[in-house]
Symmetry: C2
Subunit: 301 residues, 2 copies
Amino acid sequence: MRIYSGEKLCNKCFTKSIEDKVKATISKNRMFKPNDRIAVAVSGGKDSVTLLCILAKFEKLFPKASLCAVTVDEGIRGYRDEAVTFALEACRKLEVEHFMISFEDLFGVRLDELVNRLKAKGKGSNEVLSPCAYCGVLRRRALNVVARQAKADRLALAHNLDDEVQTILLNIMHGDAPRIARVKPVLEESHPLFVPRVKPLCEVPEKEIAFYAYLKKTEFQTIPCTYATTAMRNDIRLMLNRFEEKHAGTKYTIFRSVEKIRPALEAAEKEVFLQACKVCGEPTVSEICKPCEMLRRIGVK
Amino acid sequence: MRIYSGEKLCNKCFTKSIEDKVKATISKNRMFKPNDRIAVAVSGGKDSVTLLCILAKFEKLFPKASLCAVTVDEGIRGYRDEAVTFALEACRKLEVEHFMISFEDLFGVRLDELVNRLKAKGKGSNEVLSPCAYCGVLRRRALNVVARQAKADRLALAHNLDDEVQTILLNIMHGDAPRIARVKPVLEESHPLFVPRVKPLCEVPEKEIAFYAYLKKTEFQTIPCTYATTAMRNDIRLMLNRFEEKHAGTKYTIFRSVEKIRPALEAAEKEVFLQACKVCGEPTVSEICKPCEMLRRIGVK
């Protein structure tokens, strides 16, 4: 049963309701054009495999569109290796072309090694960021590069409603409320090397994706990342789930609430002109891009 | 010890630090002019009695300024009666002129009676608001009226950092994020009947006001309101305290975070022209003001 709406659906109606919702999110936000080549970022977890399944189903209705999957191998032994097999298996079953990129090939360093360097550097220093902070920046870059290699017009990410609402609160609680402007269903930047990102699952609660995946007997990775920290995001996740239980619909309400102020925040954003990074040539707001700066900091570049 | 800053202060330095912070908030936000007549809204609770004590101390440094206290008697038996005695006692000790207004005189109904009417109306209806919703609207109106009766240029409210941050999150979680624009240290409206409101304690955490009051041996009311509901605000309060304990400084960070987006939200706000309410003549955005509309709904006017 869907508590926030009071609906009680059979399994078939439930899966249809999820697909309808994704369809509505896509059309409302004009995520795709009929002849787009769409790259789905597939990590091998339940959200991304589910997104691939749903988009593969939709793609059949658009003969001019084409779908592919992209995966980033960060180089995390005992975690990503397994996830990649789920990603590959999903693509094989759905007959979707698959592209892979690794931190090692792109940046010359696996995440495992990067973490070791961070640990060595971190002794006696407070300035070292968490592995997740590094991984997030590098993964975003890698996804953009591999999406381009796949000649994609759009990069589809599997962020769900919970992810988006967590990010909104995290920005506020981290002191960076203006960043809310960038938590949105479609992110475009005016630079030829930037592949626009879309989030077709952004209005589906995490729980419902999990149930959809269960009904569809989707196989995906279930173990968490070795380096997953018990950071603030996790506290926010727990808090939101507690609120949702007591005040059904809280997550949706926050999502809609922030939609109302996003235009004002976007209008106030300084227009950013992306330029080519002096080191790697990728689009960036400053002289040297964030990934290059991070890699320099730990002595890779 | 103040965890978020790592300071460890003796009692004397602690009370000075609170007074300095209030001073800084006042001057940064230009809350008062040297010859202002300031009405402090004193309910009799720890925050408002403390604000009165601190402003009475400051007032001595500004010979042209004058201070008075205003209290609203909502008509809550076994709660407000006691609080009023604390308010009166504080004014007597500090030699501050005191003005009082009651819901009964102003609206022709005590809150106790209003709650009974709500209960009678509420049977079988979902549309009835909580007593707190009614009381909040009517109390704000009453404060504006009594501040005017006291010929005040400014109405000083004792909202603390916790109150402000709770209100911010409450607005977001209730689906009304644009209202964040109105949660601010100084609220002015361009209408001659509106007394501008200022919040000199808005950067002081609730806990520190409590400790200040304890050190100053301030006497205040401690029992909670009879009608206080266990509404969402209370859940948000608990959640914020839990976060503050784990991530010291969270409340400040949220306050500062939202400061960064407030100008954008204010710029996007439609300019509101206040007009005179057709029933009572008080300033309002619509034909009939909220208090009059509420009183009509429960059959008082």
